[in-house]
Symmetry: C2
Subunit: 445 residues, 2 copies
């Protein structure tokens, strides 16, 4: 880039404050130009106040020389992220630039998928040996801190083969008499995470135990890295977003709403919507099946939307509840009978509430407007009994579907509210016209 | 409790392992009994491997002597939680048992609501003075660690009035030459959280900057405590659960699914369901308004569920997307025009997709079964145009409703999928019969 010929910034130098103020409104090219007008210490300070995402974006688009310089400043997990986001052919070149130690760490990190423990962990943690005295251990930690360690959460006690023997908290280390051995004060019961554990399970561990960091180990109990609570926070938000979007009846977008391009979003929403539409076509078939009954008693058609939507709404409640409870680990497959019984009873209760309101409404309208003809009471009865049936069915299906999906190895969150509603709509029509046929036989039908 | 007369455990002593294995299947009384059969060190170790929630539940139900003993072992934020969950008349008694320092900290914490920064923070953090040398600072930190500090994330530099001047990382502290002053190495630009900041905003800060801890300050920039990423993790999960349950069409349960009692759950679900039902009754009125048209052309009634559910489904997608994007701070009110335009266009695209499928379906059925009579093409045209109208309307309403609710100071997540569906159902019927009236005028109608 030839800065003298065409520049957005006529001044020779920019301050940290100026760059920070204007950063978000600059184009990528202007960002690079502005950045280069900072002195090095300011540039470094600025880069590390950017969010991790913006930092990666900037380093990726910087000139080659800049990229190389900044890659070396990053901790291994961030460097691994950036390499993963780079075009394939640039990767080995970027790797070569790192120092020996970091390169080995980055290469190890690159072998993990992004959503498992190994993909979230940091490879730099505080370590001591069991036969060190407290005094030796503290000295050893100071060396690690000077050399490469950014922060200490727990101190991990390892044998010569890097196998995890125990853990010592910061406080225990400073409280113990200086001449005692680490092995005498360490806790040997350590909660660990297998390197390929899914991030959803890791999040549950953090949530249950309120740890600030957890060690990641392989099958031989060798320590590979640590996951800190801040690493898992992003993962938790991401999982919740995916689940919520699926429950809302679409594919997970995987990108912020305003950043995703129009056509990708349309595709992610059209798929499910079309599938639901095709499923919902069965309602037209079901209605066609009862066309004669409708022709004879148009009054029946009036309540179709009311009845089927009640089933859909109650099913949506149940499905959402169970999906979230499963994601949080509050509910497991072995609880299924417990849940079905509970939801069946809830459905019965909810159905009775709605039936009562429905009955009151029909009787009231009849009293005032005489809307529903001579057999209004039988119509009301059909509507109320159908409501109870449809709501019980809706809640039960809504609760069972996520569990069934999990049992089949699919994502429970695919049992979206619209999916359950569609399922229940078709059966709701059948329930309604069957109940009506029995009750209105020889009168309206 | 008289242990000799009636006990579930005939042995005199239980081991840590035995208690841990059986804990979850014991009744509260048996838990207390089992716990008392542990020796004190094992009891302490056991208690602190329980989740925070279970630990609080156990301490609350333990005998008074036990409760008093364990209250003194807890850090101030946990003690405050337990006091908050205790009956009002016990609170001052529990407070009195704490040592002077902890009591002051707990009392300060009790003045905050649970879902703001002050309610999440820990009052014990590492602090140094700006004029200390590195060596003095490290010595001072060791004293704090010995005395009360459990862990160190960052070291905060405070003046005599506890005002925050800067921050030093663990690494910077150990890297710097011992005789330099803290004021020379501290960073003075510190991201802070106001003490009454809502936890949702705090979670966003953590997510954006990947901090492990943030200082909480009052309006005079005096430091009140620190929030660590593990504190915010529970808050993030809680917020996501609440939002998802609201989107599913109910009040937030605020308790794990299997722990909430049946009647409370029924109440939390019946409220919204009944409200939606009453709203949905408008569909019966709308349908009654078109009763004559339906009597003349029963074929029209067949497509009512299909059309209104398509509007509901597309509205549910849009609402869920926008609600989640707002919760994550990806979308703000000032983006409203951008969003409405985008959703309008998306609705148009989605509507065309569904209309095409619908057209194919009607023409195919007509070809094979001759289902839809002589004017099948006009019926198909009515259905397709209505679909486009309803889907555009559904997406636009679904996207705008959460923003409107936020603008009115309500929770956007109340714009649940069923709520949007109900809104769109009624208008969907009106759109459908209006379009049909125009197209089928002088033929079927």
């Amino acid at each position: 880039m030839n800065r003298s010929s065409k520049t957005a910034f006529p001044d020779e130098r920019l301050t940290l404050f100026e760059v920070r103020e204007m950063w978000d409104v600059l184009s990528p090219d202007e960002q690079i130009e502005a950045f280069e007008l900072l002195d090095r210490p300011s540039a470094q300070e600025f880069l590390f106040t950017l969010s991790r995402h913006k930092r990666a974006a900037f380093i990726l688009q910087a000139s080659e020389a800049e990229r190389l310089f900044w890659m070396r400043q990053l901790p291994p997990d961030e460097a691994a992220d950036i390499i993963q986001q780079s075009p394939k052919k640039q990767r080995s070149k970027l790797l070569e630039l790192l120092d020996e130690r970091t390169r080995r760490e980055v290469q190890a990190l690159l072998t993990y998928k992004a959503d498992v423990a190994g993909g979230l962990m940091n490879t730099r943690f505080a370590q001591v040996r069991p036969d060190q005295t407290i005094d030796e251990a503290i000295h050893y930690l100071r060396l690690q801190a000077k050399d490469y360690l950014e922060s200490i959460f727990y101190v991990f006690v390892l044998d010569q083969g890097q196998r995890l023997l125990g853990v010592v908290s910061f406080q225990e280390l400073f409280r113990a008499p200086q001449e005692r051995k680490i092995s005498e004060i360490m806790k040997t019961e350590v909660v660990t995470v297998p390197e390929n554990q899914n991030q959803e399970i890791v999040a549950r561990l953090f949530n249950r135990y309120k740890f600030i960091a957890l060690p990641v180990v392989d099958h031989e109990n060798k320590i590979k890295g640590i996951i800190t609570a801040d690493d898992i926070l992003g993962a938790v938000q991401e999982e919740a977003t995916e689940d919520m979007q699926k429950v809302g009846g679409m594919e997970a977008l995987d990108q912020p709403y305003l950043q995703i391009d129009f056509w990708t979003m349309l595709k992610k929403r059209a798929g499910w919507l079309a599938a639901l539409f095709i499923g919902e076509m069965l309602t037209a078939s079901a209605m066609a099946h009862y066309e004669e009954e409708i022709a004879r008693a148009v009054v029946l058609a009036l309540f179709v939307p009311l009845i089927i939507s009640s089933g859909g709404n109650s099913g949506s409640q149940a499905a959402t509840l169970i999906i979230r409870a499963m994601a949080l680990g509050e509910v497991r497959l072995r609880n299924w009978w417990n849940i079905v019984r509970r939801e069946f009873l809830t459905g019965l209760g909810l159905g009775c509430v709605l039936a009562t309101i429905g009955l009151a409404r029909i009787l009231l309208w009849q009293l005032i407007f005489h809307t529903y003809g001579a057999h209004y009471f039988l119509v009301a009865l059909s509507v109320c009994l159908s409501l109870i049936g449809v709501v019980v069915w809706g809640t039960t299906v809504g609760a069972m579907l996520p569990m069934l999906l999990r049992r089949l190895g699919c994502d429970p969150a695919s049992a979206s509210a619209p999916f359950v509603a569609t399922l229940v709509d078709v059966s709701g029509i059948v329930i309604y016209f069957t109940v009506s046929a029995v009750i209105l036989h020889n009168t309206l039908l």
